[in-house]
Subunit: 159 residues, 2 copies
């Protein structure tokens, strides 16, 4: 039975460690655990980032989290309330496909709703078919609801 809880800055080390492992696994540059520990502590302390942890027990500090979801919130333009952006979602490799990601997402969406969230955004790469299917099962769409051929692209550039 997966449990979830919100991370505090006391969790900065395990959060940083999982984020680092995530990028190493997917051949994405990582600034390293040491940098990430400090960065996560700063962002968690400031309330600039919300991290949902998921794991088997998580009732005591020593129960290790087995996955995380990183969320950002900003006040919506088109309505009162907030937009939630799911920046990262990670589960340790040997515990995937066991409901941990789903439990983290359920908590993330409940939390977002409780904060007045009206929409949640996620960027997903086209080849990540399993990940896309996972989000689609949760009700996320990458196309205009009236036109499945009108997909929404995520553009980015370094500044």
């Amino acid at each position: 039975m997966t449990r979830t809880r919100l991370a505090t800055s006391d969790d900065a080390e395990i959060v940083a460690s999982m984020l680092h492992d995530f990028n190493v696994e997917f051949d994405t540059p990582t600034p390293g655990v040491e940098f990430l520990v400090g960065r996560c502590r700063t962002l968690l302390d400031a309330g600039d980032m919300t991290v949902v942890l998921g794991g088997d027990a998580l009732r005591q500090a020593q129960d290790p989290p087995l996955g995380l979801g990183v969320l950002r919130f900003w006040p919506a333009l088109w309505s009162d309330g907030f937009v939630a952006y799911l920046e990262e979602l990670y589960v340790v490799p040997d515990r995937r496909d066991q409901g941990i990601g789903g439990a983290i997402m359920a908590t993330a969406m409940d939390l977002a709703r409780s904060l007045g969230g009206v929409e949640m955004y996620i960027g997903v790469d086209e080849p990540d078919v399993d990940t896309r299917r996972f989000y689609e099962r949760l009700g996320f769409r990458n196309h205009d609801p009236d036109d499945p051929s009108a997909r929404m692209f995520f553009y980015e550039r370094e500044l």
Copy 2:
């Protein structure tokens, strides 16, 4: 010659009016000008939204803006600095393709850099080919730099 400046909450009415016209033109639901005036004033006053205005002169309060870019900033996770999200970009219909959008984007990117911005994100619909080409000319990509077939999708759901 297009000039740009940052909106203050004194510009809430013109910002709201352009945003409303934007959604009406593209058959997107709009909460109406009256709501948007209040919302824009709140977000601009709080610093929760940055709006770049573009127009012919913009030296005096009565010079009308002819377009706008709406930006959100949040502190980056993977580095020091900020991520910038371009939420909306609009130019009044009879003044399109005259460099106003490009001037707004140049100011937006300069501003983001000056604030320590490391990346800028934009969501764009697949059928908006002209808009996509516009962002691509500005250096934005919707695919993995090493693999043009690996496009990045923007997923969303209401909460």
